[in-house]
């Protein structure tokens, strides 16, 4: 592997890990249902970037693209369903606070 590709991978890896930290922190700390979904979105963005970079480095751009397209379709469906759940929760509780969701204990 040429030094250049190696460098690309390490630089992208650096920022992908930072994005993972942002998303995970938000997911753990937040108290709003929609913000939890936004945190999931950031995590998915990081994974998308990782897939594309891996495809670029290994020269498998076509494979990586088709995987990313599928991931994007699935991502949208999940976000829509999470939005539907958030909306239904709001109709019950009149707010989106996760702390109100303590009826069940893990």
């Amino acid at each position: 592997m040429s030094l250049n590709l190696m460098q690309t991978f390490s630089i992208f890896g650096f920022f992908i890990i930072l994005l993972f930290i942002v998303g995970t922190y938000c997911l753990v700390v937040t108290r709003n249902i929609l913000r939890a979904v936004i945190a999931l979105e950031i995590l998915i963005k990081a994974v998308t970037l990782l897939l594309i970079v891996v495809g670029y480095i290994t020269g498998n751009v076509a494979l990586a693209q088709s995987l990313v397209i599928t991931v994007i379709v699935i991502e949208v469906v999940i976000v829509v369903i999470a939005g539907g759940i958030a909306l239904s929760v709001f109709r019950h509780n009149d707010d989106l606070d996760v702390r109100r969701l303590q009826n069940l204990k893990g």
């Binding site: 630089i11 020269g59 949208v76």
Partner: protein
């Protein structure tokens, strides 16, 4: 390469802003910006088709979904926003600190030098891969979209017995 680094920095900052933003609408905007920068990055990584998808679906559709969900829920009053943002600040100010520490830590972490990526010599077109090699995935997508439509039909409908 320098442009890539610049874009990555901007994207990380946009993600940070998304997470720390005071109102949900601003967070949604931040997410859209993150996604738009990701689009440029994907485009620069020689993947134009995926970039188009990312732009139209993630930047466009998901933002619409978020904004409509937010607008259907009750907005907070001004006083509540100030209360909530004080509370949020208390919980979220650790994040930049953690990120800086992690960045410093990562600089010392050597990525192992002997990664041997499996170089592919294939010159298949993405449409070819999608329709011939990954046919099963396309069927899976069809099923997922049907499931999503059913989910919308069930979850977004008002309950009849609500007062």
């Amino acid at each position: 390469m320098n442009l890539n680094i610049f874009l990555l920095v901007i994207m990380t900052l946009a993600a940070l802003w998304t997470v720390m933003a005071r109102s949900l609408l601003k967070a949604t905007m931040g997410l859209a910006i993150t996604s738009a920068i990701l689009t440029i990055l994907i485009f620069r990584m020689a993947s134009p088709l995926a970039a188009v998808f990312e732009l139209s679906v993630c930047t466009g559709l998901i933002t619409v979904v978020f904004v409509s969900t937010i607008s259907m829920t009750k907005p907070l009053t001004h006083k509540e926003i100030i209360e909530a943002s004080k509370d949020r600040l208390k919980r979220f100010w650790y994040l930049p600190v953690i990120m800086i520490l992690a960045a410093i830590g990562l600089c010392f972490l050597k990525i192992p030098g002997d990664i041997k990526p499996a170089l592919s010599t294939g010159t298949m077109d993405v449409r070819n891969v999608l329709w011939n090699l990954r046919q099963l995935d396309m069927f899976g997508q069809v099923i997922i979209i049907i499931a999503g439509a059913l989910g919308v039909a069930i979850l977004f409908k008002e309950r009849k017995d609500e007062p």
